[in-house]
């Protein structure tokens, strides 16, 4: 699939970083998210919150990239948490059961509190 770049804002918040993508997370744009998470691991940051506030649409590729990020960060000794308020995304997490696999909260602060380890 030919990748498109999307804007990803990265901020530092204490001991973790916040990744905020802007735009759809689908099969064409997940590359940017994957790269961002990969860079984090490379530079030693393993606690990451992904803020989905500016993501209007997310499909199985986007969900997969997020859950893949969770696995990778946990393997590196950290974790990934998700800040999300959109109903359609929360439903996706519920149906697939991934809601129980990752910390999801309405705000970044609350999501960060759910870090494992």
């Amino acid at each position: 699939m030919s990748q498109q770049k999307i804007d990803i804002e990265i901020n530092t918040d204490g001991d973790h970083k916040v990744i905020k993508p802007t735009g759809d997370l689908d099969v064409y744009t997940v590359g940017s998210l994957r790269d961002a998470i990969g860079s984090m691991i490379e530079e030693g940051t393993t606690k990451v919150v992904v803020d989905l506030d500016a993501v209007p649409f997310m499909d199985s590729s986007g969900l997969g990239a997020l859950m893949g990020g969770v696995r990778r960060l946990r393997e590196a000794g950290g974790d990934l948490a998700i800040a999300c308020t959109r109903e359609q995304h929360l439903k996706l997490f519920t149906i697939t059961g991934f809601g129980e696999g990752v910390s999801i909260a309405p705000t970044v602060e609350e999501a960060a509190q759910g870090f494992r380890g």
Binding site: M1, V27, V30, R34, P56, D59, S60, S61, L63, G64, A65, M67, G68, R71, R72, Q88, T94, I95, T96, G97, F98, E100, G101
Partner: protein, 508 residues
């Protein structure tokens, strides 16, 4: 700096033309100066010589005429003398004119003065004496005073002639000198022209031809399928531009080749998937199965599987995350694992457990598969399924006395496969009556988007399924797909996969 080929060629010829013009101009100016020298000689020096000679001859003639008159007393000789005086005057005037202010004009003035003295002598002394009858006296005067004057005239005339001779000789020398100079310059310019002409004739085409040869060679390479050629042309003109565009064309061809290759790989993957997934729907008494499918792409992650064994129908509908070949491969892994485990005689829970483990190990952390794994007991109509993170099945109850109803069956939910260590294995159990339909589908139906961004959604799907329930399978498929396509204005990004299981019971 770009210099068009046209200007290079025009420039080359321009240089040659300029050299020819220079040659022409030089020739003309050199010969012009030769002519001016010639003019000097022919219009002045020689006429001067002639004039001086004529003056001297005239005076000599005058002297002879007077002497003759003194001897023979013939009046005609006196007339001749007068005529010669006139002639001498004319020539003197012309000579003075010709000499102008040249240094020799002083000599000429002397000569003229002497001439005048002689004529005075003759007019005022000799002729009167002769007219008086004193001829011997006249003779004596002519001899004593006239002869020295004539001698002086002759001497001066000789002096003038010598001077003019020198002018002519000097002019001849100057002509020769200039001629040699002209020839030397002409030869120089001619050689320069030859050199420049040869240089242009050799150098200009050589680089052009060499560059064109490079292009021809590259074109041959393209013919033979080499799309990685390099082309180094730095002539800063149209040929270089041609080379640049040629290289762009080459990379375009290379991309096309890659796309064609990808297309072929995609077709191979599609045919493999078709063979693997597209099982003919078996004819099973007591149940009617109809698949409804519309693929958005050549290969994808949606799949279904049907197996009948003894009196249990096993049906699975699955959806691998992502799109394209990656999803298709994951679908293949899932399917193979299910069939393999099932062939060992394992029950649904073991099959799912095994599939989860395989998918976790075989695929990357970003990938997962959702599925419904269902078994239907054809004798009792009891249906059991494991929902692994998948959209809930829809059941359509035909109901007594034609009261149809339909709803999504919310049972215990388990997690998607390929990520969790333990996805959960809680079953949902349902009893079907004859005429009831169970609809399994993938999220393509629900996630179809209208141009305004609205999703088709479960409610609309439920409404449509109920509406179309009375139809026969083929019509149902067309209507259903058509409905979703219309909603999405023809732009379907996801595969649509649905399997309808209609339980007919064991009567009959």
């Amino acid at each position: 700096m770009r210099l068009s080929l046209r200007w290079k060629i025009v420039g080359g010829f321009g240089i040659l033309i300029v050299l020819v013009a220079v040659l022409g101009w030089l020739t003309l100016s050199l010969f012009g100066s030769l002519r001016s020298v010639q003019r000097e000689v022919f219009r002045k020096a020689i006429p001067e010589l002639v004039a001086v000679d004529e003056i001297v001859r005239s005076f000599t003639a005058q002297s002879a005429a007077v002497r003759g008159y003194l001897i023979s007393s013939e009046g005609e000789l006196l007339d001749q003398y007068q005529r010669e005086v006139g002639v001498a005057d004319e020539w003197e005037t012309r000579a003075l004119d010709l000499l102008g202010s040249a240094p020799e004009s002083e000599v000429l003035q002397e000569l003229v003065a002497s001439g005048d003295e002689f004529q005075n002598l003759v007019d005022n002394q000799v002729v009167p004496l002769a007219a008086d009858g004193q001829r011997s006296q006249a003779f004596r005067v002519l001899g004593q005073e006239g002869s020295p004057l004539i001698n002086s005239i002759e001497r001066l005339g000789e002096e003038l002639r010598l001077a003019q001779d020198e002018v002519v000789v000097a002019a001849e020398r100057e002509v020769r000198r200039r001629q040699n100079q002209a020839i030397a310059i002409l030869i120089l310019v001619f050689v320069a022209m030859l050199v420049v002409g040869l240089a242009l004739a050799i150098l200009l085409p050589r680089r052009l031809v060499r560059n064109l040869e490079k292009l021809v060679h590259a074109a041959r390479g393209i013919e033979q399928g080499d799309f990685d050629q390099r082309l180094e042309i730095n002539s800063h003109d149209e040929v270089e531009e041609l080379a640049t565009r040629f290289l762009k064309m080459q990379s375009g061809l290379k991309r096309l080749q890659q796309l064609a290759l990808q297309d072929r790989e995609l077709e191979i993957a599609a045919s493999i998937q078709r063979n693997l997934l597209q099982r003919h729907v078996p004819d099973i008494p007591g149940v009617r199965l109809f698949p409804i499918q519309r693929q958005a792409n050549l290969v994808g992650g949606d799949w279904y599987d049907i197996e009948m064994s003894q009196r249990t129908l096993t049906v699975a509908v699955g959806d691998a995350s992502g799109k394209g070949i990656a999803a298709a491969l994951m679908a293949t892994v899932a399917l193979s694992s299910l069939r393999a485990e099932r062939s060992l005689g394992s029950g649904p829970k073991k099959v799912i457990e095994s599939a989860n483990k395989t998918l976790r190990d075989a695929t990357d952390p970003d990938s997962f598969t959702t599925l419904i794994y269902l078994t239907l007991d054809l004798r009792t109509g009891e249906v059991r399924w494991l929902n692994m993170g998948h959209p809930s099945p829809f059941v359509h109850r035909s109901g007594p006395d034609g009261t149809a109803s339909g709803y999504f069956v919310e049972g215990p939910r388990n997690k998607a496969l390929g990520w969790f260590d333990e996805p959960g294995l809680a079953e949902t159990v349902l009893g079907l009556e004859p005429g009831d339909r169970l609809v399994l589908f993938t999220d393509g139906f629900v996630e179809a988007k209208s141009p305004s961004g609205e999703l088709f959604g479960e409610e609309r799907l439920a409404e449509v399924l109920l509406r179309f329930a009375p139809m026969d399978p083929a019509t149902l498929e067309d209507e259903l797909i058509g409905e979703v396509e219309r909603f999405a204005a023809g732009k379907l990004g996801d595969d649509l996969t649905m399997l309808v299981v209609e339980y007919q019971g064991t009567d009959g």
